[in-house]
Amino acid sequence: MEHGKYRIITLFLAAPLTLYGVFVLSPFAQAFYISLTSWTGFTAAQPFVGLANYRRLASDPGFWKALEHNALLLVAVPLVTIALGLFFASTLNVGASAGTVKGVRGAGPYQKLFFLPHILPAVITAVLWQFLYNPQLGPINSALDAVGLGSLKATWLGDPAVALWSLAAIMVWTGVGFYVVLFSAAMQSIPRDIYEAADLDGSSRFQTMWRITLPLLRETVQVAWIYLGIAALDAFALFEVLLPDGGPDNSTNVVAQYLYQAAFQNGQFGYASAIGVVLCLLTLLMAAATFGLSRRETIEF
């Protein structure tokens, strides 16, 4: 029987593994090989140049500047998104007045509303925010004027000091809804009696959040951080649609855009592949570090 079992497992796994190998692993391997060539993208021949692309990358100020922007996003976007996600999720699930363990009134529709931005395609999101950020006619500057905060008006996408944060705000806006739903689901699985016990002991809502909810959501938050980290290291679609040339004074160029420029504007597919390989390694490193740094004993309940 044992023998037959393995044969069946092999048989069932063969198809998906082959597909995975052909469509996922082999392109990665090819991208790595291309990164060792000076391929322009238009020829069958790919001249081998060894590690030259990587050496050039190490001393390319354009790449380092783009990486710096990704690093800023990598810190800010997950932090703000998760904080807001947790806040909204706990409001919707355990935020009602003391003595009961349920969400504020009308929590259901809110949840759907929060989720809406997440299902919009990135390009639509970009076009929408293009309109919101319009410095002359856009609702944001108009609203600031209307409430007497005219001094806070900005040229959101045209000023190097604010452009990157304007884009980061869109990423947060897009992401929050999904994490509200994710955290809500995780909170639903926390036994109600824990909350009731905390309530009886006179725990404030902030204490409940910090000492009960958050520790019990550790693994969900960890996953959220990795997802958001990957999004922050990519950020391509949104940035490319809104600020295709790297933004005012190059203040919003990210690595994925730099890669795109190298491949499709400069005709340097070899160099672009090297950037891609580095970006891929950085993403894996980020995921590994997130798991490594936040490893604790799993709490079972």
Binding site: I34, T40, G246, Q265, G276
Partner: protein, 482 residues
Amino acid sequence: MNIPSLNTVAPVSRRSLLRTTGLLGVAAVPAVSLLSACATGGSDTSSGSSPAAAAATSAANPLGVDATAPLEVYVFKGGYGDDYAKFDEAIYKKSFPKATITHNGIQQIQTELQPRFVAGNPPAVIDNSGASPMVLGTLVGNGQVTDLSDLLRAPSIDDPSKTVADTLLPGALTATTFDGKVMALPYVYTAYGFWYSQSLFKKNGWEWPTTWAELVTLAGKIKAAGISPFAYGGQTAPDYFMQPLISLAVKLGGVSTVTDIDNLKAGAWQSEPMQQAAQAIAGLVKNGWMMSGSSGLTHTQAQTAWVQGKAAIYPSGSWIESEMKGITPAGFDMVLGTLPSLTSADKLPVTALYTGASEKYIVPAQSKNVRGGLEYLRIMLSQSAAGHFSELTHAPTVVKGAASGQDFGSTAFGSVTKAISDAGDNTFMYLFPSWYPAMSKALKTEIGNLLAGRSDAAGFLKKMQAAADSVTADSSVKKYTR
């Protein structure tokens, strides 16, 4: 005009694997990997058939087209549509009834056609245009496009005593000449300058100036009338202000001012004419004459504000009329104003004009029907095909006199054809952004800084000179001269 039947042309839609991966939508790493997955799957290109072998030539068939060879045409279907190409294809079909013509009107030129190059099987004719064309310099560097000298030497369709080259406007082929060889045919002739509403100017009694001092006085009056004198779209196209800047410099210092820049001559960016021109543009910024918020607008938003009367003058090429069709209010009457002279000692007359040529048609060298591709371009350059194009699109072609004296009811088209004929041989353009993509990027960044007041004229020129110097120093970049 007798328009040939169009129903012989079957539109075929090709959707490559690349298209479906949706480059914009997926993460960068998998995107590039998928791309390479396709890219390396191609066959060996060196083993292609020999397309240079031509059929016998004759007066009716000077390029030696194989009458039975199929012809595949790819046209960028953007602002100019692709109907004009169907007209040209019908003429080809009339000359070669046995040839099967496949017409493709597409948007993503690079995405759809790059894999065909790698596979060694590109089509005969490509309109390499739109938002994502293939980089011409790279294609040329790889020997992937046909040298068009056979076409240019061939007799023209309307007058066999003239060659095709004789029928083209001055400067039409400058941008696509690589080391003395013409590698692509730009079809649309573009005039650049400042655009304004004739009706707005008439209503206020403003005249288009011929000297910079007059323009400065005019800008003051416009501002006093409560309108922003100038606008630009800093988010996507701050470099639209570069043609005016270069125009001022070239009129002052002569054409060598710009050829020196293209040829990466040491210190070319900081020449005296460039300094004066950059200071003139920086002066507009310093006076507060740019519409506020311009740095955070796309060119479309800035142009919309302009046609709505929020700004009076906008820098652009002559595509702007068709681009703003449907948004421009009736009676706006946009016209091209050529750049005024900077000083009374300018080397070129005030009518001198920055011209460009776009919709760059190429005939891939590995195509199975190179001769047919060249013949198709010869047909496009006939008076009737070019005139038909202008009639459909309100854009002039590179063909001399194909739409002379007509304005098709458009003030814009009328002003552009007049500017082109007034300029005569005094036309000029810069090529460094298409030769050196790194400088194109630097230009957008640095002129954005200049227009937003983040840098001054000297700072702008210093940064551009540094960008040019780093291209000069980079031995991996192929250099061009003109």
